[in-house]
């Protein structure tokens, strides 16, 4: 049986997009959907298991955590920060990397040397290490997290746009624009940017997934958004310490992360096949 034919051609895009839209809607409507206040502590009902395991009840469908906070409400509210951090940091590194990459690719010479050597240096240090270093220095907050993740991801864009931009520079339509007296900035943003937009869309989508995972990794190392905040990464990290008595805390937040990131990845892969069926894997 041919599975792809069975499910239709844009299965990935539909499935991934569907999940992403669903999670985004949940995040937007969190105040209306969540049954409880995600920060309301109820120490009499600590670590109650979810409804399907022994001792669970319908009062807290997904159980409660170490402080008696409702897991379902926390998961629903947690989607906000995960999506916000993922999207905002992607946007930041995309703008940063694309701008630098395009300027370096178009202008060449000294700017190219500076930008690409910086990218080389940055490639020589593991992303997570740099993020840990900066967060340990400036402290954890949502804004700092976005800043750090945004900075740590710019090289991908810079390298891709640099290569494309350099190849475009020789093409007739750019030469025509130059001979009409167009300025560098105009050419870059009006003539070149639209050409690389499809590839940027794909990289960006896939990077949102990476950013969400990075956020959870930083939370795991104790460098995420500070403690009371309900983020999936924090919940997972908190759940780790109680893995043996209350495994659902970690497992449910892990599931939430997997579902969202899987959706985003599917959407990205689907977009790639849709926009450029012959393109290679984007690394």
């Amino acid at each position: 049986m041919r599975f792809n034919r069975f499910f239709g051609k844009n299965l990935k895009m539909v499935l991934g997009g569907g999940i992403v839209i669903l999670v985004v809607l949940t995040a937007l409507l969190a105040d209306f959907i969540a049954p409880y206040d995600p920060y309301l502590q109820d120490l009499m009902h600590r670590m109650e298991p979810p409804v399907w395991s022994d001792g669970g009840s319908w009062v807290h469908i997904l159980g409660t955590d170490n402080y008696g906070r409702d897991m379902l409400s926390r998961l629903i509210h947690g989607s906000r920060i995960s999506i916000f951090v993922g999207f905002a940091s992607m946007l930041m590194s995309c703008i940063l990397g694309t701008t630098l990459g395009m300027i370096a690719g178009y202008k060449g010479k000294r700017i190219e040397q500076v930008v690409m050597r910086l990218a080389d240096a940055h490639m020589a240090i593991p992303e997570i290490l740099l993020a840990v270093l900066i967060v340990a220095a400036i402290g954890g907050s949502t804004l700092n997290l976005i800043l750090v993740l945004g900075i740590s991801g710019w090289m991908v864009y810079a390298r891709v746009t640099f290569g494309l931009c350099r190849s475009f520079r020789e093409r007739p339509f750019i030469e025509a624009a130059v001979s009409h007296g167009a300025k560098g900035g105009f050419i870059i943003f009006v003539h070149i940017l639209p050409q690389i937009l499809p590839i940027l869309t794909v990289i960006s989508t896939l990077q949102v997934a990476q950013m969400i995972l990075q956020e959870t990794a930083l939370s795991f190392l104790g460098l995420g958004v500070p403690a009371p905040a309900a983020t999936w990464g924090n919940m997972l990290a908190e759940g780790r310490d109680r893995m043996w008595i209350a495994p659902w805390i970690a497992n449910l937040s892990g599931m939430a992360i997997i579902i969202l990131v899987w959706g985003v990845n599917m959407l990205g892969n689907g977009l790639r096949e849709h926009l450029d069926p012959k393109s290679k894997e984007i690394r």
Binding site: A124, I125, P126, L130, A136
Partner: protein, 305 residues
Amino acid sequence: MFRFIARRLLLMPLSILIVMLVVFVVLRITGDPVEIYLGIEGTPEQEAVLIEKLHLDEPLPMQFMIFLSDAVQGDFGESLQYGEPAMKIVVSRLWPTIQLLVMGLSVAVVGGVLLGITCAVWKDRLSDFLISSFAIAGQSMPSFWLGILLIQFFALDMKLLPTSGIGDFSHLILPSITLSMFLMPNFIMITRTSFLEIVNEQFVVTARSKGVSKKGILFIHVLPNAINPVVSFLGLQVGRLFGGSIITETIFAWPGVGRLMIGSIFQRDVPIVIAAVFIVCVTIIVSNLIVDIVQSMIDPRIRLE
């Protein structure tokens, strides 16, 4: 080829310099070493000794220059936590990390390439669908959660493997699986894509029409040509592998460089962090260079320059 290698080797110190500068500045400007190492009980004499030792009375650029000139001579300073030369401590933690990286990478490459080939050979069949889904799920999974699940299942429920720490070979199994999952999904997808591309090439059609057996086509004609993207990806991902080992070492209490580094960052132990970052940086750059050279050997069409 020689010029290419020479150029890369010349640029290497530049990259390392930039990275070390960033690390040094970030660590120095965010915490006063005097306060961190002496606490509130430090006497003025101790303070003076420390300031003298770390040249803290000099301006920051000067401090960096002094640090650098020591580092060039192999002296990265004394660790302020352990009171021993920083490089010595980092080197002593190197072996466990190497073990972990080599095992993790082998699992990732062997598993990834084999599964990727399986996908490509039976394209659009059930096995392709399952393995591809596994790959995408693996990419979507927070790897430390995987590590926790592995500990829970194999160490606590089945009692087959130790939960953490270092010891005989059985201690290495769960950490390497966890680490390998940072890269294996990507290896699967890249192998699959590159195989499918090569399979449609003219020379494969020719081989098939000559009556070469399926195995012969696969291993003699397709594999050597399809392996190149995997190698180049490998080079790009050494950094990611180190990042993964930081997290893996933290989960499994593995006494390697990654955990040392994280701990030292929290303690603002500048000499150790810089010594460790230096080693990691050199490793990443050198392995990138090796990958480039290996690639040009596998595929002579790639000319270095």
